[in-house]
Amino acid sequence: MPRFTLNINDREYTVEAPEKMPILWALRDKLNLTGSKFGCGIGQCGACTIHADGTPIRGCCVPIKALEGKVLRTIEGISVEHPVKESWRKLDVAQCGYCQTGQIMSAVALLDRKPEPTEEEINRAMKGNICRCGTYNRIKNAIMEASKNRIA
């Protein structure tokens, strides 16, 4: 079985897996990084969102091989003091919490691209993340809050 070296959260990991295995399953089943969640397997729900070179990707759709040499970041690699996590905490966003790691990864990447997003821009960037507990309004407010705090 092929062996891959991956740079995840500023650490090098070696993983033996089929080259087509999506990164999500390497993270979850092989590397015990279970913060990225499985939701749909077809890139429709965003629960598996991670960053590759700063871009948010759905881990269930991207094979490990395509990620060699990229800088990967997962929820475990976002500091607990990150303004997005701070605002999530402040607004008590999460209910069941299952989708929230993916929501946070999408939000962090959005604010990196657009430090002051409009509501429309938030909708556009967060539309790929489903939450069945229905925390959307708090997510929106938390992103705006984090945006303010990052600027300040």
């Binding site: 939701g39 397997g41 999460a94 209910q95 489903i130 229905g134 925390t135």
Partner: protein, 736 residues
């Protein structure tokens, strides 16, 4: 407001469960090591470190009761909220049904309110008596607050930790006194979700995250139609795939034991066992299973339509209740008004697909999963492998949403059966297609309301006929209270033979009932030329008779509570909605308003929807929800629940529709079973009416009014009435 539920003193003689705890409070060996010296009951231990360790004995699904129950306990104990340590208890029969019953029906806080306060007040009494002994003062001069016992006259205080040992030697009080609501300083404050930090770090462990030594992963291809069995499958081909460990058949033996009850049992299927989840998923895609033939009655939507329209002519299968003589009134009526409303099959589409890990050994089976009803599922699973509940050790982990789905045993039974078969730990992972296409569903159901009208539009009789499958009736435990008893009434069920398995779904039967009732009342008001809110209040304030019990005693509903609790709450909620309406009109609001209210359990929730329809593009701008749920334990998490319920209701109104073709569910994933996304989330405001009655549940009551409130607004804006869910074409609304 009169406080009906606050019994100030309780005799403990009858609540034997308190004494069934770890007496004589000396602590087990294990707890001595940790210096847990005061263990007055099964849920609490206090160490010399002053930390109160509290065990949560229900299932946390995002509804927040993990935090809520701890708040109730801490409040009554007089604990310091920052010195509470809350953990999930494994399931154990020792807790009994009162402490570890099912989690559902928005009843966790409601049902635990009394037992928790009894346990906490008992412990507090003992701590106080320890402190009084230590300070050599009277217990009457002492009280507990913020983790200390305080001697009022001298203002001396002793922290709980220093009292732990002494408290364990105090006598168990014979009577206890509950704290007065005016002294509350934890209940009613916005405490954070206790899981929030773990969630943000990606460290909260869900069933999906479980890994145990020597574990293999299973993906099961299940019978596309309940009841089908496996004829043959390409075992050899699949076994040869890299990473595949085994391919085995999974059989539903529960059915043989109990022919009538297949709704909670697993489907027959073939399990692909592999070294990781993805390999199991991929191999399962290549699995070819030949299924036994099955009669396909009601196999598609046309035949279901047929059956429904045939059923219209049928007499009732049974009566739920009747007051007066409705049948005779309809024989002689000169004017009737009748409308029918339809709710489709809907899936749960919870974020975390079902998952269970089991490790079957000779003497014990350990399970890691998430369940709303551990006692029931272990009983069911136990029947399949012929073991008692005590054979299992169930770690009930928090889940990524349940909404009724995890009431059922199938996924746990699958893991147990496979682990027994393979003699090693097995993790069964459902993929999204499994969850959407081979599950159980919110029932397709029709509600037909008919009234006989007399002079000046007076209602002379009111009949409600419900068209539903026999399995749906089993969910009538959640039968919501009717609130309009202004006339003689008849409520009856006509069975329609749908085959699709039916399961509880957030707000259960209250959802189709609210769609029917609250649309109908609005239509009736319009027909009679009355304002819909005024008309509701007119009906509520002119009740003639509230039945004492249901006709055939099928359902246990306390009608007294309808009169005492629900109707007054409904009146208060509709009056508040009226005030909001007047305020909106006075502020020259430009959008169209629609209203609806409904009960779930003793909670009543009403909503005002603000919508606009430009070029048939439906926009819901804002939903304001007014809730009377008794005492609000945590306003922050309670508001979260209502907000989430409204999003849930919107998904059901806009999209959710499971359809059948040749007996199989057609939808497979989020692209063809859509749910609401962030861009369609309206502004939401939640208003809790002040009420110090016992808390009555918050997880589901926000769902039922959503659809009728918006449909009522659409009718107001366009004159057109939609009577079926889901609506079609949000951006270009199809108006019947």
């Amino acid at each position: 407001m009169k406080r009906r539920f606050f019994i100030q003193s309780v005799s403990l003689g009858s609540s034997g469960f308190v004494l069934g705890a770890n007496l004589p409070f000396l602590g087990s060996n294990d707890s001595l090591e940790k210096k847990m010296v005061f263990e007055p009951n099964l849920l609490m231990s206090l160490g010399e470190d002053g930390i109160v360790r509290f065990k949560y004995t229900r299932h946390e699904m995002g509804q927040g009761s993990f935090t809520g129950l701890a708040m109730i306990f801490a409040e009554e104990l007089g604990a310091d909220w920052n010195k509470m340590e809350v953990s999930q208890a494994d399931y154990d029969e020792k807790y009994g049904n009162r402490l570890y019953g099912n989690t559902g029906g928005s009843g966790t806080v409601r049902r635990m309110w009394e037992p928790l306060r009894e346990l906490a007040a008992t412990a507090r009494t003992m701590l106080i008596s320890a402190a009084a002994e230590k300070m050599n003062v009277s217990t009457k001069e002492c009280f507990a607050d913020k983790g200390m016992v305080i001697h009022k006259p001298s203002k001396r205080s002793i922290p709980f930790g220093e009292l732990a040992s002494l408290a364990s030697h105090q006598e168990v009080p014979k009577t206890i006194t509950f704290k007065d609501v005016s002294d509350y300083n934890i209940i009613g404050t916005p405490k954070k979700n206790l899981n929030q930090d773990k969630i943000l770090e990606g460290k909260l462990q869900y069933s999906m995250d479980v890994a145990v030594d020597n574990m293999v992963y299973a993906c099961i291809v299940r019978a596309p139609i309940m009841g089908l069995d496996v004829n043959s499958f390409n075992a050899d081909e699949i076994k040869n795939l890299e990473g595949v460990v085994d391919v085995v058949q999974v059989s539903n033996r529960l059915k043989e034991v109990d022919e009538s009850d297949t709704k909670t049992s697993m489907r027959n299927g073939v399990a692909v066992i592999a070294k990781d989840t993805w390999t199991a998923f991929e191999a399962a895609k290549n699995l070819k299973v030949e299924w036994t033939d099955s009669p396909l009655e009601n196999g598609n939507m046309e035949s279901i339509e047929n059956d429904l329209s045939m059923a219209k002519g049928n007499s009732a299968t049974y009566t739920i209740f009747e007051t007066g003589n409705v049948v005779d009134e309809f024989k002689n009526t000169t004017r009737t008004f009748s409308r029918t409303y339809r709710n489709p099959f809907q899936a749960h589409a919870l974020m975390e697909p079902m998952c269970a890990t089991a490790d079957y050994k000779e003497d014990r089976c350990e399970i890691w999963s998430s369940t709303q009803h551990p006692n029931r599922i272990l009983q069911r699973t136990g029947i399949v492998i012929d073991k008692p509940i005590s054979f299992f050790l169930l770690h009930n982990l928090p889940c990524g949403g349940s909404f009724g789905r995890r009431f059922y045993d199938d996924f746990i039974t699958e893991a147990v059966v496979l682990s027994k078969m393979l003699k090693r730990p097995v993790k069964v992972v459902w993929n999204r297609k499994d969850e959407i296409a081979t599950s159980g569903y919110h029932a397709l159901q029709e509600e037909e309301h008919t009234v006989s009208l007399g002079e000046k539009g007076k209602i002379l009789a009111w009949r409600l006929r419900e068209y539903m499958s026999a399995q749906t009736e089993e969910l009538q435990w959640a039968f919501p209270f009717q609130i309009y008893y202004n006339t003689q009434r008849l409520q009856e069920v006509v069975q329609v033979p749908f085959r699709l398995p039916i399961m509880a779904w957030r707000s259960v039967q209250a959802h189709p009932h609210a769609l029917g009732l609250e649309s109908f009342v609005d239509e009736l008001a319009k027909y009679l030329g009355k304002d819909p809110l005024d008309y509701r209040l007119e009906l509520l304030e002119n009740q003639i008779e509230i039945p004492k019990s249901f006709g055939e005693k099928r359902f246990e509903v306390n009608f007294n509570s309808v009169k005492e609790i629900l109707v007054p709450r409904a009146i208060r909620v509709f009056k508040e909605l009226n005030r909001l309406k007047n305020q909106y009109v006075a502020s020259n609001g430009e959008n169209t308003l629609g209203f609806a209210g409904h009960s779930f359990g003793p909670t009543f929730a009403g909503q005002m929807a603000e919508i606009s329809l430009e070029n048939n593009k439906l926009q819901v701008h804002k939903i304001t929800c007014v809730v009377d749920c008794g005492l609000v334990i945590n306003p922050q998490l309670a508001a979260n629940q209502i907000e989430g319920s409204i999003i849930w209701g919107l998904s059901a109104l806009y999209y959710n529709n499971i359809t059948l073709k040749e007996g199989k569910v057609e939808q497979q994933n989020f692209h063809d079973y859509k749910v609401l996304r962030i861009d369609k989330s309206p502004e939401i405001e939640v208003i809790f009416l002040k009420n110090e009655d016992a808390p009555s549940g918050i997880g589901e009551p926000g769902v039922p009014p959503v659809a009728p409130a918006i449909l009522n607004a659409i009718c107001k804006a366009t004159g057109k009435r939609i009577r079926k869910l889901p609506i079609i074409g949000i951006d270009n609304l199809e108006l019947a």
